[in-house]
């Protein structure tokens, strides 16, 4: 992936026509990187959307841009069990796999858990092999490796799942 051009703050002396449609300005330089030491915006990752909490990573994993997907257990408490998320994606046609290797016509997701083995995040592989993640209330980003968003905040990928896409 080529290194993307980055501007830290909007320079009002510049003509806005210089920037391509959909250009995302890095107004919060360092905010995402601070939580993800392995992530370098513009090197192994890039911003792809404006921030917002209309959808979360669990929704973005199945390409939804609306809805905050999370679960409650039988007592009404928030359910962060890995099995719950696996079961949710299995019901949508995903199955567990051992490899992150890019496969044609297959969509893959990686579910992250923390030290307590509780769900923290899910990333989706794009058709070019790069991964996409919705970072909570913030932007969705693309990152070249799963480790890029791993670490103290999201923990590590615990399960990889795959789903065969229907040929158009």
């Amino acid at each position: 992936m080529g290194q993307s051009k980055k501007i830290d703050l909007i320079d009002f002396s510049r003509n806005m026509d210089e920037f391509p449609p959909g250009y995302v300005f890095d107004l919060h330089k360092g905010r995402i990187e601070r939580h993800f030491p392995n992530l370098k915006i513009g090197e192994n990752s890039s911003h792809k959307s404006k921030k917002g909490d209309d959808y979360n990573c669990a929704a973005w994993a199945i390409e939804l841009k609306e809805g905050w997907i999370e679960f409650k257990d039988e007592h009404g408490n928030l359910d962060l069990r890995l099995e719950t998320y696996i079961s949710y994606y299995e019901n949508l046609g995903f199955s567990q796999t051992d490899t992150i290797q890019l496969e044609e016509g297959v969509i893959k997701i990686a579910i992250y858990t923390d030290a307590k083995k509780e769900f923290t995040h899910v990333a989706r592989q794009l058709s070019n092999g790069i991964w996409t993640s919705k970072i909570g209330d913030w932007e969705d980003i693309e990152h070249t490796t799963l480790e890029a968003v791993g670490g103290k905040s999201y923990g590590n990928p615990a399960v990889i799942m795959r789903k065969q896409l229907n040929p158009c």
Partner: protein, 173 residues
């Protein structure tokens, strides 16, 4: 003039009364403007002091009222600043999370809720300015109300709208 004579209703006393009332009204309007513009307590004190040569009881009461009002404004500003500071830290620390659990089980969030229901208008304003909808839990705890229907709970824009409408109905925003 003695205390008794002060209350004698001759023409001059009525004139004094109206003059006094004009002054009160004048000061009141200055105070109101100052209040609306969020002027400092010191500024309000100056507005009052310029009229204190007339030592009528109402002026004294008005001054007292103004100082109380100023202190309340100062307290409110302090509370708002404290809220803004904690809210910024909370958003910065938990904005990356995609689960309500990780957002609300946070020391800053707890501190905000512990500030009490006086901060509800600040939270509602934050929601109005597109703040995160995860204020829902705090608002529910502080107000003991829940204007969000079960079916809207997974749609954050609807959670936000429901609370803003609730706040408007309660005249809190």
């Amino acid at each position: 003039m003695g205390g008794y004579n002060k209350h004698t209703k001759d023409r001059s006393d009525y004139e004094d009364y109206y003059t006094h009332n004009d002054k009160v009204n004048n000061i009141s309007s200055h105070l109101y403007i100052a209040y609306k513009e969020g002027e400092s307590a010191t500024k309000k004190e100056e507005l009052i002091n310029c009229e204190t040569e007339n030592e009528i009881e109402t002026i004294r009461l008005l001054k007292k009222w103004a100082l109380i009002k100023s202190e309340r404004i100062a307290d409110n500003s302090l509370l708002e600043n404290q809220f803004n500071e904690l809210a910024t830290k909370w958003k910065d620390e938990t904005g990356l999370f995609s689960t309500t659990f990780h957002k609300i089980v946070n020391d800053y969030y707890f501190e905000i809720v512990a500030m009490g229901k006086e901060i509800v208008p600040f939270i509602l304003n934050d929601l109005k300015n597109n703040g995160p909808s995860h204020w829902h839990t705090a608002l529910k705890a502080l107000t003991k109300e829940n204007p969000v229907s079960e079916e809207d709970m997974k749609k954050n824009d609807k959670i936000r709208k429901a609370w803003i409408e609730w706040g408007k109905a309660k005249k809190l925003i």
